[in-house]
């Protein structure tokens, strides 16, 4: 009564091993989630991520339509393509979610983040910090004799690089908003 002629306990080469080999790659996607701005909506979204073990690398939220009470949540998440697909579908399933756009999948998009850097230092360090800030188009928004606060808007990578440069020059505090993103074109 052996079952068909199937090898017992067949192998991981089975056609239905869920993961294609390339799917082990972890990719980063930016999602725009349009939600009804009701109390608890952010908790629903965040709760979904923690309950299902998804990653949140960055999250921003604000009401973008005050009359329609709609907020836009921008989430940067990372996972295998299978997980990203599930993230999008699970978000779409929430009753308070109107739409989910996978900006990374839908084409090129513009991503911007705002950051504030408090850099303290004297002499050469101070001059070098100012010089680099100019190159990175960071603005001085506060200054004392011993410190600056720079403001910078850019991609997360640009902010990372500026932070790396500021660290040896006396970076004391860093505040980042998280990513806001829009798809390019119409």
């Amino acid at each position: 009564m052996s079952a068909l002629n199937i090898k017992k306990g067949s192998t991981s080469h089975s056609a239905y091993d869920l993961r294609d080999s390339h799917e082990q790659l972890v990719v980063s996607h930016t999602l725009a989630v349009i939600v009804e701005n009701e109390p608890g909506v952010l908790a629903r979204v965040i709760g979904l991520f923690s309950a299902r073990g998804y990653n949140i690398d960055s999250l921003t939220v604000a009401e973008v339509d005050h009359t329609g009470h709609r907020s836009r949540i921008t989430i940067v998440t990372s996972g295998t393509p299978h997980v990203i697909d599930q993230v999008e579908k699970q978000l779409s399933r929430l009753v308070s979610v109107y739409a989910v756009h996978d900006l990374t999948a839908e084409g090129p998009c513009v991503q911007r983040e705002l950051a504030l850097f408090k850099v303290a230092g004297k002499g050469e360090h101070r001059i070098e910090a100012l010089r680099l800030a100019e190159i990175f188009r960071a603005h001085v928004v506060d200054s004392t004799l011993e410190s600056f606060i720079f403001e910078m808007t850019g991609t997360p990578e640009k902010i990372d690089s500026f932070a790396d440069l500021m660290r040896p020059l006396g970076l004391r505090e860093l505040a980042r908003t998280g990513v806001a993103a829009l798809s390019r074109g119409m």
Binding site: M1, A3, L4, I6, K8, G9, S10, T11, S12, S14, A15, Y16, D17, L18, E36, P39, G40, A43, R44, G47, A51, H82, D85, Q86, K89, Q90, S92, R93, L94, V95, S96, Y98
Partner: protein, 584 residues
């Protein structure tokens, strides 16, 4: 103009407008205004439960046996927390229920007031959606929206938390047609191109198989009818999950039995060996797939589901159709007929021959005894003696549940209520009461294990008070049988805490509740005892003492593929390796 009313009046009015006939609930300080309104009307019946978990399971039993939305009402704090298990149960099994909970008045929220709990916070991941209504003007609309959300798309539980001051305040009532529900409208029609591709696939398949689930039941009677027509017309074999039993009749010619961890040999091997799997409203649960990597390695898979997130969640499919089962089946049937009703006759004949060989293994065979009642025998007799009656079955969770699924036959949908996704011990007794309230004349039997049954036995009081003649058929093995079975197979026969010690005398317990108790331990007496239970006009607690060490087979051990199923005790030595043992 709509008229002004208090929040509590709105609750009752909205329930009436939604066609609600019965509410299962338990009062407390935070819902007294609503109870006051319930007292002053006769359209909606209130069933006083004995524990809020019971209220939710009753609402589930009511919903599952009628296809309507079940309703429960609980107070704040402990009332709401007691409801949590039931909410998750309904969420996992996609059962439409609306739960109304009281809350401390809005001005006290956040002060750790008496019987305050963050109910919407606690139940957010336990519901399809929930609301805290802080303004009486919004209350009636939210209630209508809640019913809409509970029953639309993939059904599920919703909860509305209503602070006490909102119940007292007055505002204008929003009638049902005026409530805004348009932003939540899940897609019901499947993509015609995809449906056509499915039809093309089934025209040529050599070894096709319908794999159906609870989605068919949830979709409604039309879905079951269409499924039956499709199955008969194509001649394809059909299997179903635990949740889908009854959508296709057990006596139907193409029925090959339930699949899954304790499913039938022929059903699981057909899943493993098919070349076309038509998943209609099932979700590739881990009880079904076994080891993912070896799941049905040679088949093309089609998945019809109303919930897009179910698709490719666990098993990657070759073709997905998002839509309501009835709509999709209707289109598929029409297209298949229009294209000339083609099937691969030769392939099918061979396939059936193979399935019949598997069936000849007779996987449910067991060694009967004339000294002790075998649980399988008890269910065989229950089936024989109640077949053809207007019968509804609920179950608890454990071996008895799996045996019930194996040995009872379901001819129609909505006749089988069991906790599938969550596996909630304590579900069956209250669920049976909910079913009986919905179908007062029917024979409603809860097939129970003694341990599960004790978890919500207080609800016998509810059964007595509301004259629900539910039959509690307890397969008493004096063991947490399913736990014991796993300990035998996985934990070196070390039976850690899997005895049911100090059990009550169930007959005396029945008497204490004022209902009938029957005890049976001799196979010879069983038929008469069952008939006595059926004939008794009132609730019965039937203590059926069964073999204590019987194991439930077939069994696909955790971490094994379908074709490594265990058929009986002889095959069980050391079969589950460490990797399987970590699975549940």
């Amino acid at each position: 103009m709509t008229k002004a009313m208090t929040g509590a009046q709105m609750v009752v009015q909205a329930l009436k407008d939604q066609g609600v006939e019965v509410v299962f609930g338990y009062p407390g300080g935070a819902v007294l205004p609503i109870y006051d309104e319930i007292f002053q009307q006769n359209d909606i019946r209130h069933v006083l439960v004995r524990h809020e978990q019971g209220a939710i399971h009753m609402a589930e039993g009511y919903a599952r046996s009628t296809g309507k939305v079940g309703v429960a009402l609980v107070t704040s704090g402990p009332g709401a927390t007691n409801a949590v298990t039931g909410l998750v149960d309904a969420l996992m099994d996609s059962i439409p229920i609306v739960v109304l909970s009281g809350q401390v008045p809005t001005f006290m929220i956040g002060t750790d007031g008496f019987q305050e709990a963050d109910t919407v916070g606690i139940t957010r991941p336990c519901t399809k959606h929930n609301w805290l209504v802080k303004d009486t003007a919004k209350l009636s609309e939210v209630i209508h929206q809640a019913f809409h959300v509970a029953r639309s798309g993939r059904p599920g539980p919703v909860l509305i938390d209503i602070p006490k001051d909102v119940q007292f305040a007055t505002s204008e009532y929003t009638p049902m047609p005026k409530a805004k529900v348009d932003h939540y409208q899940p897609r019901v029609k499947g993509d015609i191109e995809a449906i056509t591709r499915m039809v093309e696939m089934l025209e040529t398949a050599e070894r096709p198989l319908f794999y159906t689930g609870g989605g068919v039941i949830n979709s409604g009677n039309a879905a079951s009818q269409l499924l039956r027509e499709f199955v008969e017309a194509t001649g394809f074999p059909i299997t179903s999950t635990l949740m889908g039993l009854g959508a296709y009749p057990a006596s139907g010619a193409n029925w090959i039995g339930m699949l899954g961890m304790h499913g039938l040999y022929e059903a699981n091997l057909a899943m493993h060996g098919c070349d076309l799997m038509l998943n209609i409203g099932a979700r590739f649960d881990d009880r079904i797939t076994g080891r993912i990597a070896d799941f049905s390695p040679k088949s093309k898979k089609v998945h019809v589901d109303i919930d897009p997130s179910s698709i490719n969640k666990v098993i990657r499919v070759d073709l997905s159709i998002v839509g309501d089962v009835a709509h999709v089946l209707e289109d598929a049937l029409r297209i298949w007929k229009a294209r000339g009703r083609k099937v691969n006759k030769d392939g099918l004949a061979k396939w059936w021959k193979q399935i019949k060989e598997w069936r000849a293994v007779d996987c449910l065979a067991f060694t009967n005894s004339d000294k002790v009642i075998k649980p399988q025998y008890a269910l065989q007799r229950l089936e024989a003696l109640t077949k053809g009656m207007d019968r509804y079955i609920t179950t608890e969770v454990g071996q008895h549940q799996m045996w019930a699924a194996q040995f009872l036959g379901f001819e129609a949908p909505n006749r089988w209520m069991t906790s599938g996704g969550l596996g909630t011990m304590g579900y069956g007794l209250p669920a049976s009461i909910g079913v009986q309230i919905a179908h007062p004349e029917a024979l409603v039997i809860n097939v129970a294990g003694e341990a599960s049954w004790l978890m919500n036995m207080q609800e016998m009081g509810t059964a007595m008070q509301f004259r629900a003649p539910v039959k509690q058929f307890i397969l008493n093995n004096e063991r947490l049988g399913m736990v014991r079975q796993w300990q035998e197979l996985l934990h070196g026969e070390r039976y850690s805490s899997s005895w049911s010690e100090s059990l009550p005398d169930f007959v005396k317990l029945a008497e204490a509740f004022g209902c009938k108790g029957i005890k049976c331990q001799d196979p010879k007496d069983l038929d008469d005892a069952i008939m006595e239970m059926i004939r008794y006009d009132g609730p019965v607690i039937f203590d059926c003492l069964v073999e204590k060490h019987e194991n439930c087979f077939p069994m696909i051990p955790s971490g094994k593929p379908h074709n490594e199923m265990l058929l009986g005790n002889a095959e069980t030595q050391g079969v589950i390796k460490a990797a399987g043992a970590v699975l549940v």
